[in-house]
């Protein structure tokens, strides 16, 4: 653990000083502030932010993450030649990137909210959920970035794969779900669809936010079964568990790869 913290400390101080992290944070500050200013109610701001979070966080985490790992290749080798274990080294490198990305996002969204002030406890809970989902997606897609960059030696291929994964998880997957829904419209689809949502962290995060933002709509039709599923503590626990699993699985896969890789 000590070694992880030591590696992380330096990785962190490198990433924190980088211009793109500053830009990333500023991006969220500007978007959040803009939404708070122009959409009036902060519930609408959270709504607008949801789409930004679901698109931008996976994109930045996976694309910048992949680039970062490629760029740190020689440095990683230097560290590997030091008397420290691979697992600890990976932990330090991964957390050293995922944590500043998460903090950049959380600060970028949190600061404008704090400045504008928000009083409604419901909105506070919604904001907390949004921040939680953003952090989980950051950890998940940073893990994907590490796994990709460690598996694919070719930088261009790695980057292409990163963008492909982003496109699939944020856009195409839902198109496929819509298509499946239309094809099997005669069957009871509620449960299978909930299962399909669990299989994609972006969708899972979105659905958890819907449960707070669109309760009225979700109480009708399918939503009722959705609400009754997530409304029970068991269903909610399953959803949050699945989301946390999504935060953990990609980095664990990357760690496995890191442990065996020939540099």
């Amino acid at each position: 653990m000590k070694t992880i913290a030591k590696v992380m400390k330096y990785e962190l101080s490198d990433v924190v000083r980088s211009r793109w992290l500053v830009a990333y944070t500023l991006f969220f500050v500007i978007v959040t502030d803009g939404l708070l200013r122009f959409s009036g109610a902060s519930a609408n701001a959270e709504l607008g932010l949801l789409n930004v979070v679901l698109v931008v966080i996976p994109l930045v985490s996976v694309v910048f993450g992949t680039m970062h790992v490629y760029n740190a290749r020689e440095f990683t080798e230097l560290l590997l030649a030091q008397p420290i274990g691979r697992r600890q080294l990976f932990g330090g490198l991964y957390l050293g990137l995922a944590i500043p990305l998460s903090l950049g996002f959380a600060a970028g969204v949190g600061i404008p909210f704090a400045l504008h002030g928000f009083d409604d406890p419901v909105q506070r809970r919604t904001l907390a959920t949004l921040l939680g989902i953003g952090v989980v997606l950051t950890f998940s897609f940073t893990g994907v970035a590490f796994a990709l960059a460690l598996r694919l030696e070719d930088k261009a291929k790695g980057l292409a794969a990163a963008i492909a994964i982003w496109l699939v998880t944020t856009v195409l997957y839902d198109g496929l779900v819509l298509l499946l829904g239309a094809m099997f419209a005669d069957y009871p689809l509620e449960r299978p669809l909930i299962a399909l949502m669990m299989l994609n962290p972006v969708d899972l995060g979105r659905v958890l936010m819907l449960l707070q933002l669109d309760v009225s709509a979700l109480m009708g039709y399918t939503g009722a079964s959705l609400k009754s599923f997530f409304g029970t503590s068991g269903g909610m626990l399953l959803a949050v568990g699945a989301l946390l699993l999504w935060a953990a699985l990609p980095p664990l896969a990357a760690l496995r790869r890191f442990g065996r890789k020939d540099f």
Binding site: K9, D14, L80, A81
Partner: protein
């Protein structure tokens, strides 16, 4: 070649990348307190050999003993090894001083530090600047500093003078000789044969993943009856090609 009490003994080392054999039963002993140059054309397995030594790459088979102790997965064994990679690319926003501090942190407080090169390279001021603002040559100096920092018993230098100006190059070569005088063992690779001739005591020549020659430099020149290392190596490679075509 028989080396008595070698610091590093490599026995039957094998490595494949997929179906491609890179190292085929490489057995060699590195003599203590000497400078050994590992030579070979591109793809001969030099880099792989070094990376296995450093734990960057996993071996498929064979044995490596450092100071009589088998070198396994235990990372602590690497405390005795210093490494200067060929390409000096560091996190852009850290300073050289932070990099030094980090390695000290990672290696623990037990290490005795050798900051000698910092002064000799006149690096002082540059160490407080972010690494991205430094020139390639200056970064290579930082790279060298890091390798010598922990007074390791075995130093692995991959193309150490590449990218250094003549003055810095001279400083580094002096440092290599001094370390040898102090009883340190150094392993280095280089494309500059004259430089190796100047520095190396022993030569290990790799061709197609096999050891073609291992022994003192003078033995090599004597055996090939060539006046320079470059010519001697060329001669050995020719012989190998001829042998290969005869066998075929």
């Amino acid at each position: 070649m028989i080396v008595i009490d070698p610091i590093l003994r490599i026995d039957g080392l094998t490595k494949r990348f997929g179906t491609l054999p890179v190292l085929q039963h490489v057995s060699v002993a590195i003599a203590r307190g000497r400078v050994t140059a590992i030579l070979g054309p591109n793809g001969a397995g030099k880099t792989t050999l070094i990376k296995i030594l450093l734990g960057l790459t996993r071996r498929d088979g064979g044995l490596i003993e450092l100071d009589g102790q088998p070198l396994g997965d235990d990372p602590s064994a690497r405390a005795a090894i210093g490494y200067m990679p060929q390409i000096a690319r560091f996190p852009e926003n850290l300073t050289g001083a932070e990099l030094v501090e980090m390695l000290v942190d990672l290696r623990g407080p037990g290490a005795t530090l050798d900051r000698d090169l910092i002064d000799r390279f006149r690096l002082g001021g540059d160490l407080t600047k972010p690494l991205r603002t430094l020139s390639g040559g200056t970064r290579q100096k930082v790279n060298a500093v890091l390798a010598f920092l922990f007074t390791p018993t075995l130093l692995v230098l991959d193309e150490p003078t590449a990218g250094l100006d003549p003055v810095a190059s001279g400083v580094l070569k002096d440092k290599i000789r001094e370390e040898r005088e102090r009883g340190k063992t150094l392993i280095l690779t280089s494309h500059v044969m004259s430089e190796l001739e100047e520095l190396a005591d022993d030569i290990v020549l790799l061709l197609d993943g096999r050891v073609r020659f291992a022994g003192p430099l003078r033995d090599l020149t004597a055996r090939t009856k060539q006046i320079s290392l470059e010519r001697a190596v060329a001669q050995l490679m020719r012989e190998a090609t001829d042998a290969g075509s005869e066998a075929a």
